[in-house]
Symmetry: D2
């Protein structure tokens, strides 16, 4: 289970993308549940953010460091599919992967589970803004765009 | 501008679907804004729910009536595309349309504007549950499935 | 009902303090209700903020203007007594009064009603900060500290 | 540091009251911070609930068990004093104590710290309701009302 223990890269579409080292756990709070007794669907968007923040922290480039650099990362789009309801005290473990990188945008994919059961899947798309202008990712992070065809995936 | 004044139906894919009579207005609250000074992206999912609730109220079949009938309407999927950031005190006007109905699921589409500018678009998919079982929409609401080819759109 | 129609001042402790011109209405949202089916208690603190923001807007000195002036107004303390539960779709009308002003702090009192019934009462205490330092209210807003003994209350 | 390791009782006013075995940690989320860049004040009321839930879990009588018993525990009053602002990623450790028990009501006191610094203090008052009626605590939990004068505090 290397995926759980060390930061690794996902080999996909001839590129290597990062996944989270260890999954993020969100324990559902009382105030996150609604009149139906289940976790309100809007909160999953927040759990996805928590997991994303945790991934960046694990990589050593957290939101705080980013903000200190004058870079903000607005969310451009988000989607979530609810597969099974969760409720108060459920421990949702969330895996995050960077799944797409283009010139100006990048996307994370999320899978949330309670035990072995998938409870939600989602995706979020972001850009980076610096002084009000979008950061050209290919220039700033050329490593993400290296031709990776010849590299072996690390898992 | 009949669309703003009366409940009407959208003629699409040979079916008539309902739209909201008047758009729903959400005025952004201080506590809905984040460290970037903009409305936190998760809140738009809540605004969509508010607009949906308002549409159902306008139609005279609100959440409360539904719950009193023993019917709940879980969200199955949601997506949102953020086109322009909004902030504290912005008045977002949201239009909702029922855009898809299948045997077990239905979807609403949302367009949110500040003034004339589109700030977000979104979609949510739902089912109806009664005593733990999904409601077969074709049986319960046959009107939604009538062959509408011969009807004239109402606008 | 001057109180409902025009900004007025409350004559108390030999000082005149302002009240809101018209009460603020918060309609309880679905996502604000919890597993007990009632408005989650934490949300009332947000409703109090909404009502306070509305009061300042009515007075023409809103949060935005304050922030543009480089002034922020942190909350120093808050309390709320829940007298009757509220739920989804309830319309809570909230009256706000400035009830105390001292050298560095000021307090608002809130009464929230559904119909004629009081559902909560609360109080919040604030200071003003400018460039990291507390604003001395007596210097900045001497009008609030004028000897008011001889003035007639306006209602 | 027995207080950190085992459930213990606070000897006060000739009664023994329980405190949490180990403090509860809340790590501040991005979406919990506001335009001032600090944790929005309303969220502390939620952190207090989280800590209270955690205490009851540690005691083996959690919300879920309570709800399964048909007992709900509405909040009757809450207050919070903000001593120092906190922000994104701060780890707030919260100690909870049961500080008052009367015939129908009981109160918890909270102290939240970041490192050694107190960032907030608060209190919440509750009752228990069963089938719409308040539970008489002295009858249901006589142990809490035992004369404790002769007992030695356990720490």
């Amino acid at each position: 289970m290397l995926q759980r223990k060390a930061c690794f890269f996902l080999y996909a579409e001839k590129k290597l993308y990062l996944c989270n080292m260890k999954e993020y756990i969100h324990k559902v709070k009382y105030y996150e549940c609604d009149r139906m007794g289940i976790t309100h669907h809007s909160n999953y968007i927040r759990f996805m953010e928590e997991a994303r923040v945790d991934l960046l922290d694990q990589l050593g480039y957290g939101f705080e460091k980013m903000e200190a650099d004058g870079v903000v990362s607005p969310v451009m789009a988000v989607n979530c599919t609810y597969r099974k309801s969760t409720t108060f005290q459920d421990q949702i473990s969330i895996e995050v992967k960077l799944v797409k990188v283009s010139t100006l945008k990048f996307s994370f994919a999320y899978v949330g589970k309670v035990g072995d059961e998938v409870v939600f899947t989602g995706e979020s798309t972001h850009c980076l803004m610096e002084k009000g202008k979008p950061v050209v990712l290919r220039k700033r992070y050329p490593g993400l765009f290296d031709t990776e065809e010849t590299k072996e995936p690390t898992h």
